[in-house]
């Protein structure tokens, strides 16, 4: 039974605009926060890993670490916020008939502007450190695209589960803390012992970081096997997320 006959794009646009206005209207620094946060983390990690634990192998340590921080930050932030998006929008779920998928989707997409600003920051620093533009940059939209696909999948999955299990938010936060150490953010992939490397590549977040470093810092195309693993794992997460969400959404009303 279909009782809602609205316009998907219009709803999505309004929900994204809402998230955005709500987040920035009450902040004096507004959008600069999305630049400030990675820059501070970059400075701190650079200080620690060039002064305290010197890591001589990486010559451009600030950019190197930023290649890891930006994709990680996007996932951690969007995943965390997205996990509670259904519970936070109880009113919408229980009192309006529009398609529920719009809520997690809007939640992820409203973080994408952050991501775009941070990507601009990253590319600027890459160039400022004397790296040129190369044709492999054409891979970048695919890499970022799969990151968004992966994040959507995670948010669909955990957003739906958090209706039934309210501790989900803390599970996600804890996972992100673990992920910060298990993704090669402040250490190079080459430092990982050989027999762990294959497993690492199946972690899509690690795959994104690796691909970025190949493209931006080493002027080499990311290996096909890496891209395929990235594509497969993020699409798999999206499919699982959609299936779970679809099954779970019928009962949202009863549990919220």
């Amino acid at each position: 039974m279909k009782t809602w006959h609205g316009e998907y794009l219009f709803v999505l646009q309004n929900l994204i605009a809402k998230d955005f206005r709500v987040r920035y209207r009450n902040m004096s620094l507004g959008i600069f926060w999305s630049l400030l946060n990675p820059l501070i983390m970059m400075a701190v990690l650079t200080f620690v890993f060039t002064m305290i634990y010197p890591n001589s192998r990486e010559l451009q340590y600030p950019v190197f670490v930023l290649c890891g921080l930006i994709p990680f930050n996007f996932i951690a932030l969007s995943w965390g916020i997205g996990t509670s998006c259904i519970v936070d929008n109880t009113g919408l779920i229980k009192r309006t008939t529009f398609p529920k998928e719009m809520i997690p989707l809007a939640s992820v997409l409203s973080n994408c502007l952050h991501l775009l600003i941070q990507i601009a920051l990253l590319l600027t620093l890459v160039l400022a450190f004397g790296n040129g533009v190369n044709r492999y940059w054409l891979w970048l939209p695919f890499v970022w695209g799969f990151e968004v696909v992966l994040t959507c999948g995670l948010v669909f999955l955990c957003g739906a589960l958090s209706v039934y299990i309210r501790d989900m938010r803390y599970v996600v936060d804890a996972t992100c803390t673990v992920l910060f150490w298990l993704v090669p953010i402040f250490y190079p992939f080459s430092a990982i012992p050989d027999h762990y490397k294959n497993v690492y590549q199946f972690n899509p977040v690690a795959g994104i970081v690796l691909a970025l470093r190949y493209i931006l810092l080493e002027n080499t195309p990311p290996a096909n096997s890496l891209l395929i693993k990235l594509a497969l794992s993020s699409t798999f997460v999206l499919i699982v997320g959609c299936l779970v969400f679809n099954r779970a959404k019928r009962r949202f009303y009863d549990y919220l």
């Binding site: 009782t3 316009e7 219009f10 206005r21 009192r95 309006t96 008939t97 299990i165 009863d254």
Partner: protein, 246 residues
């Protein structure tokens, strides 16, 4: 032509609500302990023809809002069938789908998109909706500066412009002032005259007698009376009076 069919519908809610991770894990591991569910509606059946306007009355917790939610398709029934023909606009709650940090105008667009107006229709109707709401300059102020009545004016004005086949209203009019209530009555009457279907929950008998032709009386989830509005309301009000005296 049937507009709404509700056939043998029951709806229960388990008493537990959302679980904690610990309980959920426990539930998976051990045999499920079944607690008796709470039945919000038991075996309710009725049909509403296109163009009818129907009131739903009953005490608090008698299942009125659950019934409306089922008709809107927000939640599936345990057993039975719910079928609604055509576009539905529902006013179930004040303020759901609104954000208090956004201005009236921003909320208006958001709310319009959620209830199913297209971008084009929203742009065309924007002025008309603002005018109907009589919010004037306040439309550009954040919603947190609004009174409850003003929030109601905004939501109601949007819902009245969806041009739905079925309009469902759950006790929200009570917060409006007399003048705006009159305006809403008038709008609902013209809506009814245009041949659309109306389903209204309210505790204001006078208003229901004015705009509805038929009434459903719910008592503890059972449909106890279904008939002409005045006769059902007379019975209902008599019962309320006698239980209040005892």
């Amino acid at each position: 032509m049937k507009s709404i069919s509700v056939i043998g519908v029951s709806k229960s809610f388990a008493h537990r609500g959302p679980g904690l991770l610990r309980e959920q894990l426990g539930a998976w591991l051990s045999a499920p302990r079944r607690k008796a569910p709470f039945y919000a509606l038991t075996d309710v059946s009725f049909e509403i023809d296109r163009g009818e306007s129907v009131a739903v009355v009953g005490a608090n917790g008698s299942g009125k809002s659950t019934l409306l939610s089922l008709v809107c398709g927000l939640t599936p029934p345990d057993t039975g069938l719910v079928h609604v023909d055509g576009r539905v606009a529902a006013l179930l709650d004040l303020g759901s789908g609104l954000h208090f940090d956004l201005t009236g105008a921003e909320n208006l667009r958001l709310n319009a998109s959620l209830v199913g107006l297209s971008r084009q229709r929203t742009d065309t109707l924007f002025g008309e909706i603002v005018e109907f709401s009589e919010l004037g300059e306040f439309i550009n102020e954040p919603l947190r500066t609004y009174s409850t009545g003003m929030v109601m004016r905004l939501t109601f004005s949007v819902a009245m412009h969806v041009d739905p086949d079925v309009l469902i209203v759950d006790e929200v009019l009570a917060v409006g002032d007399q003048a705006f209530q009159q305006k809403c009555f008038a709008k609902m009457m013209s809506f009814r005259r245009a041949g659309h279907t109306l389903l209204v929950v309210s505790h204001s008998g006078a208003m229901l007698r004015e705009i509805c032709s038929r009434a459903l009386w719910l008592d503890h989830g059972n449909l106890v009376h279904d008939g002409e509005v005045n006769s059902v309301l007379d019975l209902y009000e008599h019962r309320r009076l006698t239980t209040a005296l005892h």
